[in-house]
Chain length 321, copies 2
């Protein structure tokens, strides 16, 4: 009996990765190229096609039953197009059609990278067994995806769970998205570092780390400005998380990404701030946990979104294992 | 052939209403009592039981197949209990068990009043035919409910769509809910009036209307403070609506309740503020429309939540028409 596999593709501003993923979430074969983010749309597609060709050339390809793509957003799952903020050559770019030229008649599922992460953490990570969860990434930016009623809810266009660009400060600073006081504008790693530097914090040595990781190290040493920078970030995250919980009802929030690597420096003020913002009885017991999937979260997630899209396919895949 | 009916019960801080509702959303028999909100929990239940008895005594009762309850929240649909903010005698009160003493073995669906309104507007109102909608009420408070993927999503406890208590101003004023900068704390009718009065607005005559309706009349006459009060409310609503759209993807927002009766005085600044906050491509084309159900929205909605709960029952009901 043949085990069905999924071809997973993870498209980011830095790298494009692909993998053959089995029904247990194992990556059986993995391919990666740098994203030529500054080049033309056709050249970026060529990099993606190279990755896919590295999968189709593999002997296991004959067992692939579907293709899952998680892409930097915004995406439009209905039209199969993507417009990633950090890939300027792709605007309403027909990514699904482009990938299909290599993958042929296989069904293709496209979701935003936030939705992919959520699908992955629900399938094989920290949201396993949770029916209602927000899975988010706090790094250079802030993104997320939603598990509702036991399954991924990517939304009609694949962008649901976009917590980075909800406003928690309606009179706050303008955000590059055009909005004001967005969670990302306050809470991202970039903005943690900016806040600390603006408030006079400097690393101990002239060539020290001025990124959020450097601020986290200083916070761990008790530096008050560094602590304040993380508290500020944590409050914005908490307001956004509490809003999401009030709107859709959540049991669990999974937080991953570079900033979450600072551990208690982020999670302690985050849990404290949630007590401030998540006050209604039905949101009060929200659990906040670190993500469990590592650097391949996007690939596992793209595969999971694909399994999740088709219960039949999932059943077939599971049966074939 | 027998048409199936639903017994709908709408529990608010002012009145408790009940009706027999057919599969077309018509109220065939209607009963109402004032809510003895200051009395003991048992006395409030007695008022509810009186209403239900007014339904069971009707000849059509034999055709009732299910009971739908929409209650002021928070509610807990899992345990069948309610803790309405404005009915202090009911805290974790076993409402479903109490109603069952009169209705017997019929299935009972409990949802929060926001979810009920959403179910009603989706069934018979302004969200008809919309797959993804937020239906909200802006009056003394601010509440709401969600239609996702073509059906009511009340959430596990029946409270989803709670837009009134999401923070859009993380450093803002404390809200009675314990949070800070909540949409309701800024946008409700009560807070529109408070803002205008604090800023020096007074009605034209000493005995004039100092409620939000009075402020709306002044805004219609171009009074700058009254206009500012509505702009402030509209911006908080827009930030909350844009957040909801970013998190779950919406096509439509339906706005009802007393403050929405002020028409363009609210809807014009609301649509303008949405252009400020709803900037991502997948939320930019959000439609904002007035609610279509009137004072019986809660009853129609409680019936709709009940139909929505059971597709089979809905099919039976529709087939029997």
């Amino acid at each position: 009996m043949t085990t069905h596999l999924v071809a997973a593709i993870d498209i980011g501003g830095t790298k494009i990765a692909g993998a053959l993923v089995d029904a247990g979430g194992e990556l059986l074969h993995r391919v990666q190229r740098p994203t030529p983010a500054g080049e033309s749309g056709e050249q970026v597609l060529r990099a993606a096609t190279d990755v896919v060709s590295g999968l189709t050339a593999h002997p296991l390809w004959s067992r692939v039953g579907a293709v899952g793509i998680g892409s930097a957003g915004p995406v439009d799952a209905r039209s199969g197009t993507v417009s990633p903020v950090n890939i300027p050559g792709w605007r309403d770019f027909p990514l699904v059609a482009g990938i299909r030229e290599t993958t042929g008649a296989l069904p293709v599922t496209l979701v935003g990278d936030g939705a992919a992460i959520a699908a992955g953490e629900h399938w094989r990570g920290a949201a396993q067994g949770r029916d209602n969860a927000l899975c988010m990434v706090v790094s250079t930016g802030v993104g997320g995806g939603l598990i509702l009623d036991g399954r991924l809810r990517p939304g009609p266009t694949g962008n649901a769970g976009h917590i980075g660009h909800i406003s928690v400060d309606l009179d706050g600073d303008l955000c590059p998205c055009g909005g004001r006081g967005c969670v990302e504008r306050i809470a991202s790693g970039t903005n943690i570092a900016r806040y600390a530097l603006d408030a006079g914090w400097r690393p101990a040595t002239a060539d020290g780390d001025t990124s959020a990781a450097g601020v986290a190290a200083a916070a761990r040493d008790g530096h008050p400005v560094a602590l304040a920078a993380f508290t500020r970030s944590a409050r914005a995250l908490a307001a956004g998380i509490a809003a999401t919980a009030s709107l859709v009802e959540l049991e669990t929030v999974v937080v991953g990404g570079g900033v979450s690597q600072s551990g208690d420096v982020l999670f302690t003020p985050l849990r404290a701030a949630l007590r401030e913002f998540a006050t209604l009885p039905f949101v009060r017991n929200l659990e906040v946990v670190p993500a469990r999937l590592g650097t391949d979260a996007g690939l596992v997630g793209a595969a999971a979104a694909c399994w999740s899209e088709s219960d039949t396919f999932l059943a077939r895949g599971a049966a074939g294992t």
